[in-house]
Structure formats: structure tokens, C-alpha cells
């Protein structure tokens, strides 16, 4: 690349060394070592998904090529494309391990800066899996028709370059928008709609599949010409035309794919050049004109809560009400109802009575990040909690009450949704659901309180998808959640199999609720001591910029 000198090479090596040192230095703490173990397990999962997915997609491509149905190659290419571009949005979401834009203070040439942003930014799960899956496709096509191998290499190579450039382009655009709090919040709503959209896509497609053949054919006829000019379709069209000897058409579609890559490169280049030339992407908020002076309203009067507990509860609800992700949790129960409604005929036509408990379990699941990292949003405020004359036991109780309030609102919305779409849940189903909550909620709160103090991770309540709890917290919380759901399922099995009654299942869960509630109070009784022991970790982790 023009403009790259030996000094640039030295800078690239220095940055690689920086990332290595950050990893090694993180191992100095027990928490860092635990996170590395969790990361190692996650890497194994990713490797499994990458190799498994590569084999599956490769087999699909092999079958399609073998049967000379190359127009269907667009399907695996779309799978790779959608995953590569959407996974970062939905999961890891625009979170570079090292903020490479901060490297601008060093005398980097623009080509070196561009390369650094491209290479180090692309070291993520989506790229790793995308590359492995693309390799699977290449091997599958080449194995099925060796004459197509050079074309496949060219097309899959171009497709890979396009995906890398396109993903980086999305990243820098989103990074630009996220640099301001207000646009961050607006973007949060966009993420919300996207995630809801994807949840709904399954049932919608499921219902569409129930349409008659001619109706489906008409829709497909309208969609295919559009699909062909989009990157995965264009890539498939190159191979299709090459296999039929239509060289000109193949080159045309190949050129189209190259144009997409060039477009992504151009936009990426524009944004990075702006950054390189000194655009302050982390500029402050636009200064507001002064509001009209107003008297200070007293805090809320909450009937059963007094003093600091009421103040803490009010503060938690203020935080929740100003949080995009919290809005998300309010919507999710309804989405769940809709998902179950869409798939009711396909999955459990005779079990619709379980929509309410399944939705209720989902309500608890979407609160995981808040319950298991409940101090994550405090930031510097954690110091206030330590210097104030209020016990952490009280703080934990207030937080759990606020979380319970959100859960109650979620379940109410769910109940209304279930009532509107199906029938109101029967008494025995409601009792079963409540019994499961009596078991699962204290269990989640107990482990959640403990992990919140033990492995805190700073998060911003206003931001969607850019942050996760500590890796060890994620693993343990998933373990608890799946255990709780499995226990509910086991209780249903026991009740139905041995007593032919859901009431018996409820009794089983109520019995299990006792140790769960005791465990909650045991953790609560020790939370002050644990918080005092962990205060340095809490303040250091949560107060960092």
C-alpha cells in the first residue's frame, strides 16, 4: 500500500505488542484469569461453530453445485453475509478491544492508520466465523466441480473482501453516531426495532410458508431480480453464469460485486480520513439553552419504603426509565407472545396454555444483564454508595425491588398480550408460573447480587449492545438461568408423569422455592462484608473512564 514505510511496519508491530501486553497484564488479577478461562471456552465454542458451520455450508454448496442448481448458491452466501454483518450489531456490537482511533496522537501515516483500523478492528468473532464459513463454501464448490474452483476462489475471495470492508464501514459509521449521547440513544431505538424485527421475522416467514404454492411463487418472482443485484446474489450469479459459460454476464456480476466493495471502501475511507484529519468524534453535547428555573420537587412518597431504601428505589427507577435497553425489556414479552403465536401450529399446537409461563421465563431472562451486574451502571456513583451511611444490604434490597418492579410490569404486559391473542391463562397455569417465580427469582437475585459485587463491569444504561458483563458473569448467569428453566421443565414432567396434574408441579416448585429464598437471604446477610472486601475492585472497575 502506497505511503507505508518501514516506520509504519514498526508502528503496526508496536500496536500488536500493545494488544498482547493488555492481554498479559489482564492476567495479573484473579478476575482477569477467570475471564481468560471464559474467553478460552468461548473461543472453543466459536471454533466449533466456525468449523461446524463451515462443514454445513460447504456441504450445502457441494450439494447445490453437484445438482447444478447454482442459482441456489445465493442461500449460503446470504447466510454468511447476514451473520457477518448483523452479529456484531446484535451481540458483540461495535466494541473494539482497543480504541484504535486514540492512536491518532502518534505520527501515523494515513495508509498505516487505515490498515490499523481495518486489521485490528476486524479481529472479532463475526470475521472469524465468516472466514471459516466462506472457506467451507469454497471447498464445497471446488470439490463438487473442480472446473469452477478458480471462479469460486475469485468470487469467494471478493465476497470476503466485501464483507470485511462493509462490516468496517458500518462500524465506523455507527462509531461516529454513537459518539454523542443523544444520537446514541436514538440509535438505541433503531437497535431495538432491528432486534424486534428479527425476532418477528421467524414467525412471519413461518406463516408465509403456509401460503399456497402459486402465492409463494408470485412473491419470489418479485424478490429474485432484486436479490440478484445485492452482493450475495451477485456473487452467486457470477458462479451460475461461469458454470453455464456465460462469461460476459459472469464478468458483469463480478464487476457489480467489485463495485459494492469499492463503495464500502470509499465510504470507509471518507470516514477514516475525516477522523485522521482531526474530526473530534467524541465531542461534547450541544450546550442547551438554560431551562426555566424550577423549584426542586421532593422525592417520591412510596408507601411501604422509607428513607434511604425509598431514595435508592426511586433512583433505580429513574435510571431504568432513562434507559433504552429497559424499554427493550418492556417490549420483549409482547414479542415473545407474537413469536409463539407465529410458530404455534408448527411447534406446539396443543400446548398453547404454556405461552404464559414460557413468556414469563423469557421476561426473567431479558433482565439477566441488569440482575447479574446491578452496579454496572453506577459509574462514579459507586463511591457515593460506599461513603454514605447506608448498608449494601439495603442497596441490594432496593435494587432487587426495582428489578422486581420491572419484572412485574413485564409480566403484566405479557398477561395482557396472552389474554388478547389467546385466552387468559388458567388458574393452574398462573399458579405454576408464580411458583416458578418463587423459585427462580430469589435464586437469580441471590447469585446476581453476589456476582454484581464480585465481578462488576461498567456499563452504560443508555447504550444498546455495546457492552457485556464480565465473561465469568455471563457464563455463570447462563448456567443459573438454564438450571432454573430446566427445573421448571422437570417440575412439569414430574407433575404430569406421576400425578397427572400441573398443581403437583407447582407444589414441587414451591418446595424448591424454600431453599432458594433462604439462599437469597443468606447472600443478603453477607453482602455488606463482601462489598467491603471488594470495594477496591468495585470502585476501580466502575469509576474507570
Amino acid at each position: 500500500m502506497a505511503g507505508l514505510s518501514s516506520a509504519s511496519g514498526e508502528q503496526l508491530r508496536a500496536i500488536a505488542m500493545l494488544r498482547w501486553r493488555l492481554l498479559v497484564n489482564a492476567l495479573r488479577s484473579v478476575r482477569g484469569r477467570l475471564n481468560l478461562v471464559s474467553r478460552g471456552l468461548a473461543t472453543l465454542l466459536v471454533a466449533g461453530a466456525g468449523i461446524g458451520g463451515g462443514i454445513a455450508l460447504g456441504s450445502m454448496a457441494w450439494g447445490i453445485t453437484r445438482e447444478s442448481n447454482l442459482e441456489l448458491l445465493a442461500i449460503p452466501l446470504w447466510i454468511v453475509f447476514l451473520f457477518w454483518q448483523l452479529f456484531p450489531v446484535m451481540a458483540t456490537a461495535f466494541n473494539e478491544n482497543v480504541d484504535t482511533s486514540s492512536l491518532l496522537r502518534f505520527p501515523l501515516s494515513y495508509p498505516a492508520y487505515f490498515l490499523i483500523r481495518l486489521i485490528f478492528g476486524a479481529l472479532d468473532i463475526a470475521t472469524a466465523l465468516g472466514l471459516l464459513w466462506s472457506l467451507g463454501l469454497l471447498i464445497g464448490i471446488s470439490a463438487a466441480d473442480f472446473h469452477l474452483a478458480p471462479w469460486a476462489l475469485l468470487v469467494i475471495g471478493s465476497f470476503t473482501i466485501f464483507n470485511i470492508l462493509f462490516a468496517r464501514m458500518i462500524f465506523v459509521l455507527i462509531e461516529h453516531w454513537l459518539s454523542r449521547r443523544r444520537s446514541r440513544e436514538v440509535l438505541g431505538v433503531v437497535f431495538l426495532l432491528m432486534m424486534v424485527g428479527f425476532q418477528i421475522a421467524g414467525p412471519v416467514l413461518g406463516r408465509y410458508s403456509k401460503k399456497t404454492g402459486p402465492e409463494r411463487f408470485l412473491v419470489l418472482q418479485k424478490l429474485i431480480p432484486v436479490e440478484r443485484v445485492l452482493p450475495p446474489g451477485a456473487a452467486a450469479s457470477v458462479l451460475l453464469n461461469a458454470s453455464r459459460g456465460h462469461l460476459a454476464a459472469g464478468i458483469l456480476f463480478g464487476t457489480l460485486l467489485a463495485c459494492y466493495s469499492a463503495g464500502a471502501f470509499w465510504i470507509l475511507n471518507l470516514r477514516l480520513r475525516d477522523q485522521y484529519s482531526g474530526e473530534n468524534s467524541s465531542g461534547g453535547e450541544k450546550r442547551r439553552s438554560p431551562d426555566l428555573p424550577a423549584t426542586v420537587q421532593p422525592g417520591w412518597r412510596i408507601p411501604i419504603l422509607r428513607g434511604p431504601t425509598a431514595a435508592l428505589y426511586e433512583k433505580e427507577l429513574h435510571y431504568f426509565s432513562r434507559s433504552g435497553p429497559m424499554l427493550f425489556t418492556m417490549v420483549m414479552p409482547l414479542v415473545m407472545v407474537f413469536v409463539l403465536w407465529g410458530g404455534r401450529k408448527a411447534f406446539m399446537p396443543h400446548q398453547m396454555g404454556f405461552v404464559f409461563p414460557v413468556g414469563a421465563a423469557y421476561c426473567l431472562l431479558v433482565l439477566t444483564n441488569i440482575v447479574y451486574n446491578s452496579f454496572g451502571g453506577e459509574g462514579g456513583g459507586i463511591q457515593f454508595l460506599f461513603v454514605s451511611p447506608v448498608s449494601f444490604r439495603r442497596v441490594a434490597i432496593a435494587k432487587n425491588l426495582a428489578q422486581l418492579t420491572v419484572l412485574a410490569i413485564d409480566v403484566s404486559i405479557l398477561w395482557l398480550g396472552v389474554r388478547a391473542i389467546y385466552n387468559p391463562p388458567t388458574g393452574r397455569v398462573i399458579v405454576f408460573t408464580l411458583a416458578w417465580y418463587f423459585f427462580a427469582v430469589p435464586l437469580n437475585f441471590a447469585v446476581g447480587n453476589w456476582l454484581s459485587v464480585y465481578t462488576p463491569k461498567r456499563i452504560d444504561y443508555a447504550t444498546f449492545g455495546r457492552q457485556r458483563a464480565a465473561e465469568s458473569t455471563i457464563l455463570l448467569s447462563l448456567l443459573v438461568q438454564f438450571s432454573a428453566i430446566a427445573t421448571g421443565a422437570a417440575a412439569i414432567f414430574i407433575g404430569k408423569r406421576f400425578f397427572s396434574s400441573l398443581w403437583a408441579s407447582s407444589v414441587v416448585l414451591l418446595v424448591l422455592a424454600l431453599p432458594s429464598i433462604v439462599g437469597y437471604f443468606v447472600v443478603l446477610g453477607r453482602i455488606d462484608r463482601i462489598a467491603q472486601q471488594r470495594r477496591e475492585v468495585l470502585t476501580t472497575e466502575l469509576c474507570r473512564d
Partner: protein, 261 residues
């Protein structure tokens, strides 16, 4: 009874000793400036005195109460502005002060009334709907101080309260602190800005490499003759001169970094 007493206060981080055998005795009503170069142990000491950090050994008493055994009672009587300011960014200024007041045991109405007065005094009342995260640095410092004093503490701990604050905001902060001293409160303050310490504080302690190297009234310290001092006997030094001579002035670097030109 002294407001703040420490005996052999020590804090180690692994092999590194951040604070060693610190003995303080600060009488009620004193405005105590705690000085030291970067990494000397100022923030570690203030964190231990406010319960943010456990000491490795030694004793601390605030207003006659042992911090190890009466932590909550002590916290009720002190106000703290720690290094990170301890703010909840997604509350408005008034919500935060209301919250702080109630956390310190004030009832709803009293907390609201004091919050209004403090916002007015600190000139923060014209943006009641703005979230703290959108405040300027100076506004955040003023708000942090307001939260620290809303319950009328007898002892106030301030870690670098003037850092990054402009002259206007600094003036408001100083006015608030002088008001508290006039009413008999004790203030323990760390700062890098020696002029401010010289102007505000009655007593000064200097910490270097984790040990107290000098303490006393400002007048007393300025008249002390430091070994090797160039100041003529009988003539008072400025606090900056005394500080530099006590902790060691800038190193003689004529032979170093010759490549800098």
C-alpha cells in the same frame, strides 16, 4: 477531642507501601491541606479516612469514633468528595441532591428544600432537567460538593476539589468551604494547587513516599529552616518554596536527555 486522628496508618498494595505510619491529629475547625507530589499517598490516605479503602494496619478515629468499629456512625457525620466525584450521571442535579439528602437520613421535604438552596447557591438551578452526565466539569464539581454538604457534616473530606475547575466555579467552591469553616466544621483537603492551599488552609501536612514529612500551621511551616535552604534565616518562605525543599525540587537535568536539544 480531635476531629481526625490516625495512629500508624499504613496501607500496602502487595510489596508496595503506599502509606506508612501516618499519624495525624486534626482539631475541630481546622482547614487542613494535605499536600504531596503525585503518588505520594494523598488519595490513598483520604480513601482510608472515608471508608473507601481498608488500611493494612493502624487506627483511625473521626470525631472520637473508631472507623473500624463505628463505620456507619462516622459516615453519617462526614461529607466526602472523592477523586471520581461519586456522581450518578443519569440523574438530574436536583434528583441527585434529593437522593443524597435522603441517603444521609433527611426527610423528603428537608432534602428538597436544601437541594433547592444548594442549587441556587452553586448557580446550578437554571438547568433543572439537564442530566449530570451533560454537566461541564466545573458544574459536576460544584454538584459533588453540594451533595457532600447537604446533611451538614461536621467533617468534610475533599480530594482535589479544584482540579480542572475554572476561576468562577473555584470562587463559588471556596465561598462554600469558608462558610463551613466559619460554622465550625473541619475540612481535610488534598490539592496540587499550592496557592489555593496557602490562601484557604490554616494547617498543612506534607506526605512524600507514603510518610508524613512535615505538618503544622501554615505560619510555622513557612518559618521552618530546611537543611540546605537558600532562604535567609528569619525570612518566611512561600508554601511552594517550603514544599519543594521538603519533597525535593526538580532534578538537575542538565546532563540528561541531551537529545532533546
Amino acid at each position: 477531642m480531635d476531629a481526625i486522628v490516625t495512629e500508624s496508618l499504613t496501607r500496602r498494595f502487595g510489596d508496595f507501601t503506599a502509606v506508612q505510619d501516618v499519624n495525624l491529629s486534626i482539631a475541630p475547625g481546622q482547614f487542613y491541606g494535605f499536600l504531596g507530589p503525585n503518588g505520594a499517598g494523598k488519595s490513598t490516605t483520604i480513601k482510608m479516612l472515608t471508608g473507601l479503602l481498608a488500611p493494612t494496619s493502624g487506627r483511625m478515629q473521626i470525631l472520637g469514633l473508631d472507623l473500624g468499629t463505628h463505620l456507619v456512625e462516622v459516615k453519617r457525620q462526614i461529607g466526602v468528595v472523592p477523586e471520581g466525584m461519586a456522581l450518578f450521571g443519569r440523574l438530574t442535579g436536583s434528583e441527585y441532591l434529593n437522593f443524597a439528602g435522603r441517603m444521609y437520613g433527611l426527610d423528603r421535604m428537608t432534602a428538597a428544600q436544601r437541594a433547592a438552596e444548594l442549587l441556587d447557591f452553586m448557580e446550578l438551578s437554571d438547568q433543572p432537567k439537564t442530566l449530570i452526565t451533560d454537566y461541564s466539569h466545573g458544574m459536576q464539581k460544584k454538584l459533588a460538593l453540594s451533595a457532600a454538604v447537604i446533611h451538614g457534616p461536621k467533617v468534610l473530606f475533599l480530594d482535589e476539589p479544584f482540579e480542572g475547575v475554572d476561576a468562577v466555579a473555584s470562587g463559588t467552591l471556596k465561598a462554600m468551604l469558608q462558610r463551613m469553616i466559619a460554622r465550625g466544621a473541619t475540612i481535610f483537603l488534598t490539592s496540587h494547587v499550592l496557592e489555593i492551599v496557602e490562601r484557604l488552609c490554616t494547617h498543612v501536612g506534607i506526605i512524600n513516599h507514603g510518610r508524613i514529612v512535615a505538618q503544622g500551621t501554615l505560619d510555622h511551616l513557612r518559618s521552618v529552616v530546611v537543611e540546605g535552604s537558600s532562604t535567609p534565616t528569619g525570612e518566611k518562605m512561600t508554601l511552594e518554596e517550603f514544599f519543594l525543599q521538603t519533597v525535593g525540587g526538580p532534578r538537575n537535568s542538565t546532563q540528561e536527555l541531551s537529545w532533546l536539544g
